[in-house]
């Protein structure tokens, strides 16, 4: 990156921003290649939608060489929700083993963060850590914060003063992350929780942000936590929704001896998950369905 006072020639850089593959061609196609470098991408979803799965998978796919859409990079995983899903990471690492000579888990640095102050404290350390890693075999080029909401939702009251302080901190943290993202060409993925929308179109939360009029998950109207101030801090926002489908399947196999009816209907529950682009500077309003299996998060062709 040149000095800030001289303009950059846009043709000097590659004409498409570098992206980090998610590890599935269908989701990658939906995201235009994956999670973009040099900016902050936010992943919004209610609990149990697959945010952490997505993050874990990204830390593994980031290690892939650029010929496979990865960044050939290590990653830094800041987790604020406990415990860190070590077993799941280990399980996923079998699917995404870039080569046999090293264990992918060796290239994922995990740090727990308990409070906003701690996050601010460790920011300079993170920066020097990334700087030092630039000469190693796989330099750090991905930061995951899972989740940012957990830090902010516990420490602050719902008073004017606290909310003001809170949004000040949003901009501070986001400014630091963006500066690092530009300086080192990092991809930054931040997860966020959701809040239920009691009355649609009520107050700030009813405000339409991005492509989707209202976000629905599990059949309820919801909206991303942390409000509009935080929405101003991220470059792209992705939303994972889940909806339970009840599939009624007739079953002839049950013997008609006891009940006498001859057949019984079975109700199967199926979770339909989809990923939506709420807003992103480089993406149109698209979405794709995905499923979570033992091997990881994969898109489903419709």
């Amino acid at each position: 990156m040149g000095a800030p006072m001289t303009p950059q020639n846009l043709l000097d850089n590659p004409l498409t921003t570098e992206k980090c593959t998610v590890g599935c061609p269908i989701i990658d196609r939906c995201l235009g290649g994956g999670i973009p470098c040099n900016s902050i991408t936010e992943l919004v979803a209610e609990s149990g939608s697959g945010k952490t799965q997505f993050c874990l998978q990204l830390t593994l796919s980031a290690q892939l060489p650029s010929s496979h859409g990865g960044l050939s990079a290590s990653s830094l995983y800041l987790h604020t929700e406990f415990p860190f899903p070590m077993r799941r990471l280990h399980q996923l690492s079998h699917t995404f083993r870039p080569s046999n000579d090293h264990n992918p888990c060796d290239y994922i640095f995990v740090q727990s963060v308990h409070s906003v102050d701690q996050l601010l404290d460790i920011m300079p350390k993170i920066e020097s850590f990334i700087k030092n890693s630039s000469n190693s075999r796989l330099p750090i080029r991905l930061i995951v914060i899972d989740s940012i909401a957990a830090l902010f939702r516990s420490d602050f009251d719902n008073t004017m003063d606290d909310l003001k302080k809170r949004s000040f901190l949003f901009f501070k943290i986001s400014g630091m992350l963006k500066a690092m993202a530009v300086g080192f060409g990092l991809a930054v993925l931040v997860t966020n929780q959701v809040v239920d929308l009691m009355e649609p179109n009520e107050g700030v939360n009813g405000l339409r942000v991005g492509n989707l009029g209202c976000l629905y998950s599990s059949g309820r109207p919801i909206c991303p936590a942390l409000g509009i101030a935080w929405a101003n801090c991220v470059n792209s926002r992705l939303f994972l929704s889940r909806n339970e489908d009840f599939v009624v399947r007739e079953n002839q196999m049950v013997n008609g001896g006891v009940g006498g009816s001859g057949s019984e209907d079975f109700v199967c529950r199926r979770t339909r998950r989809s990923l939506h682009v709420v807003f992103a500077p480089h993406l149109a309003d698209t979405s794709c369905e995905f499923e979570i299996t033992r091997e990881g998060v994969f898109g489903v062709e419709r």
Binding site: Q8, N13, G175, V182, I228, N235, V278, F279, H282
Partner: protein, 292 residues
């Protein structure tokens, strides 16, 4: 009689002397038109405005109508809206549209894009540039015009001077430097700042200082717009204000900057909704379209 001996306050005496009035007779002989040097009649102003009635189209007829034909040169326009409504898209669109050659009714100028948020994506700019070239070819076919479309999408990208800013100090420095930069690059016709607010919403504890710095910046941009007759476009975030029991959208830092700017636009889904039409990578025509 010497001015220095007049029974008036020291500051007034100083002002008179520095303006070149040393004696009472020199003050008496000064006519009103001498004193009002640098002023302009409204008639002159109107003439001037009609001559330099250069406007940059937004590629959206409805929006152009509201703006009186597009974003005006010699003006500072502030554009606000919720995240994801298309402020950056409009910014990139303007950076491309300012380069439409004069034969095609454009300005044939260059653009300065000051990115404070990191939302400027080169691939998106390239898409919009391609659509713009496509539009010019279409225009040729339609009017059976003989103008040659010489512009290539890559040339359009080359004519966008892109600054990536990571702190408010850098932002102030670049804005101070603009005067020099533009005097070296006279063909710059639009300066886009995306967004003016981001770095000022953290790092400033002293709000009075923030107000002073921001009004300084606004003043500099106004002067820049007048001096080089270029358009300055400020993209701004919105925040909510709690008044009379309900939440209202308002521009971030608006209290500070508002009275110094020429025009404002707030995009809101209720009043004017900018939506991205014709999306999807398969469709070549990817531009920001607005609908009322």
């Amino acid at each position: 009689m010497e001015v220095s001996k007049l029974p008036i306050s020291a500051t007034q005496r100083g002002k008179l002397i520095s303006a070149g009035y040393t004696s009472l007779s020199s003050i008496c002989s000064a006519s009103s038109s001498d004193i009002s040097r640098g002023t302009q009649t409204a008639w002159d102003m109107l003439q001037e405005e009609q001559e330099s009635l250069a406007r940059i189209t937004t590629s959206c007829a409805d929006l152009d109508n509201i703006l009186g034909g597009g974003i005006g040169c010699r003006e500072v326009t502030e554009i606000g809206g919720v995240p994801g409504i298309g402020k950056t898209q409009l910014g990139i669109q303007l950076a491309v549209n300012v380069q439409i050659p004069v034969e095609f009714g454009g300005l044939g100028g260059k653009a300065i894009y000051i990115d404070t948020e990191g939302s400027f994506m080169v691939e998106r700019a390239l898409q919009i540039a391609e659509a713009c070239v496509e539009d010019m070819l279409e225009y040729n076919r339609f009017l059976r015009n003989d103008c040659q479309v010489k512009t290539q999408p890559k040339d359009i990208l080359e004519n966008i001077f892109y600054f990536r800013i990571c702190s408010y100090t850098e932002q102030s420095a670049v804005i101070n430097y603009l005067d020099k930069f533009v005097s070296e690059h006279k063909d710059v016709k639009v300066v886009i700042i995306d967004s003016i607010a981001f770095h000022f919403r953290h790092g400033f504890v002293d709000l009075a200082l923030r107000t002073r710095v921001l009004s300084g910046i606004a003043l500099k941009l106004m002067n820049l717009a007048k001096k080089f007759s270029l358009a300055v476009v400020l993209l701004n975030q919105v925040t909510t204000k709690y008044t009379e029991g309900s939440f209202q959208l308002c521009l971030a830092l608006a209290m500070n900057v508002m009275h110094t700017l020429t025009s404002h636009l707030i995009f809101d889904q209720h009043q004017l909704h900018i939506q991205l039409l014709a999306e999807g990578s398969g469709i070549p025509h990817q531009e920001v379209k607005g609908s009322k």
